[in-house]
Structures are given as structure tokens and as C-alpha cells.
Symmetry: C2
DNA sequence: GTAACTCATTACCCTTGCTAACTATTCCGG
DNA sequence: CCGGAATAGTTAGCAAGGGTAATGAGTTAC
């Protein structure tokens, strides 16, 4: 430990409930920034676009509005993302069966292939870093992921 | 549960190491997006700017380059953020004692006041949501925060 | 049947990240 | 000491990706 004992550290500050919010926020901000820069070079899709494909792979065809809720963005933002994905041929749009206001988005064959191919070498950077953690640390993150998600989707 | 049992969920997918990277990435992306939108209304500073003030409050005066490393951004990005904070009067810049290439950034009185004031109702949204979690869940996050940080700062 | 509402989209703007190029300063080999 | 390499910060310019407001099309309720 190279600095004084009264210097606050992430671990110490996060022990108080007041500090936990602040630390968690900083950690999430930094890790996200890092992740956004670490897309693998052979994948021309952004991290956001891959996120949408992942949701579609997990939950099946969804409307634009449902995707917007799932990814915590406003509808116009999701419209744009979906349009990009349609242009690249990874999703297809079709009208809703009964409500013609809505647009149903689903993975194309290419999009499904991309998700599967990505799954193999998925998150190369993050997966490698996870491998460098201890099993205990991985276990903590495994528990933390759904909790973070719950926080993001609250309200 | 409205969908079939073989439909993957966050919890299930994250049990495999391959899936953990993907789930953690999605969760972090969503939560960060959510946090960025949840700044309190009486604080005109962005979440990034508050993050820099927080680092300065914790670690004392730092150079622009050190701040860039701490926040995982490139130097030009930090230059801009620091300039904004200087303009709003929350930090002051002064030359480095011995190396006149470097610029030392430190909290102004106003900036320190803002950090303290913010600490009271800090992270209002996130802190409230944390309070709604179970003690066990909070404990998981308390352990997870430094690990996320370690991931973000690796390499 | 019309008024109010909902879903998606369009148009536009802002923030925030990046890289490349430039300046100023320091370090180092001769 | 001097000239080139390295380092710190900045400037300029660009792109991604959010947001809000306004619009259009379709649905629902009265």
C-alpha cells in the first residue's frame, strides 16, 4: 500500500451505504467506457448494436418500443439502432399482426449467425480479464450482474 | 413467468463463464445509461464532471494525464472536461512545481463544496434503489464495485 | 364518428468519446 | 552545450449515440 492509511480507497468508501452508490456509479462508468472501446476488430457492429442483437436472441422478436424499454433508451434512439441493424442485414422488420402501429423486429439468419459466431469469441477482452480474476471474484460478479440489471430496469 | 422454461434468462446465462462476460457487459451498459440520465435536477454538472470532482476529492490534486488514466479516457477528453470544470469554477489549474509541461488540477473551494453538498443527497436515484435491495444484494454489490474497477483499470 | 391516446418516426441538437496534428518542455547522447 | 527523441497538454475535426419536440398513422373510448 503506497499511500497513507487515511486516504480513502474504493474498498473502504464502499463499505458505507452512502459511499456504495458513488463507488458503484464510478466503477460502472469506467468499465462501460472501457468496454465500448474494446470491441473485437473483426466485428463492425458497435457494442450497442450487439446488445440489441443479444436481447433479440434471448427473448425473440420484439417491438421497437419493447426493445427501447429493454435497453433503457428512448424510442427514437432505438429506431435509429434498429435501422442500422436492418441496413446491415442483421434484423428484419415486419408489421405487428394485429396492431399496425407497431413494428416487430426479429433476428435475420445473418443476425442469428452473428450472435452465434460472436458467442464463441464473445467479449474477448472482458472474458480474458474475467479469467484472470479469482474464482471468488467471478462468483461475486456472477451474482452482481442480475442485481445491476435489476437496478437499471427499476421504476 | 410468461415465457417458456428453456428461454434463457440473465441468471441462467451468467452461470457459465462464457455467458458471464456478455451478461456483465449488458448490465453495465444499461445501468450506466440509466445513471447518466438520472442526475439530480439542481446539479448542472454532468455525471462525468461529477466523477472527476469525486476523484479529485478522494485523491487530491492530480495532473490532467493522471485524471485521464483514472477515468479511462484519452488526454484530450480530459482536457475538455477539466476546462468545463474550470469555467464553472469547480477546479483550478496551476503549473506543476518542477515540470512545466504538466498542469495540476485541484478542487476549488466551490468544487469541494459541491462534492460535499452532493455527498448528502449523493446519487439520490441510485442510493434509493440500493435501499430497496436486500442486505445480501447490497453486500454483493459492495464486493463487486472494486472488482469492476479492477477490470476497468486492467492492462 | 370524433377525440384522445399510443407507437414509431423524423428532424435537430448536445454530449462525449476518439485520432491526428501541433506546441512546449524535458531528457539524453554525443 | 546542443540537437533529436520523448512526454504533457492542447487544438481541431469527426463520429457515435444519447435526448426532446413535433409529426403521422393507427387504435381506443365515449
Amino acid at each position: 500500500m503506497s499511500y497513507a492509511n487515511d486516504m480513502p480507497t474504493v474498498e473502504k468508501v464502499a463499505r458505507s451505504d452512502a459511499g456504495l452508490a458513488a463507488e458503484l456509479r464510478l466503477s460502472v462508468m469506467r468499465l462501460r467506457r472501457r468496454l465500448a472501446g474494446e470491441r473485437h476488430p473483426d466485428n463492425e457492429l458497435s457494442i450497442n448494436q450487439m446488445g440489441v442483437l443479444g436481447v433479440l436472441a434471448r427473448r425473440g422478436a420484439l417491438t421497437v418500443g419493447e426493445l427501447a424499454v429493454a435497453e433503457r433508451v428512448q424510442p427514437p434512439s432505438m429506431t435509429r439502432t434498429v435501422n442500422c441493424l436492418e441496413e446491415s442485414g442483421d434484423v428484419v422488420k415486419r408489421p405487428h399482426e394485429t396492431d399496425r402501429r407497431q413494428i416487430v423486429v426479429e433476428l435475420s439468419e445473418q443476425g442469428r449467425g452473428r450472435v452465434l459466431a460472436d458467442r464463441d469469441r464473445r467479449d474477448a477482452w472482458l472474458a480474458q480479464r474475467l479469467r484472470e480474476l479469482s474464482p471468488d471474484e467471478r462468483a461475486v460478479l456472477r451474482q452482481a450482474a442480475p442485481i445491476l440489471d435489476k437496478l437499471a430496469l427499476k421504476d
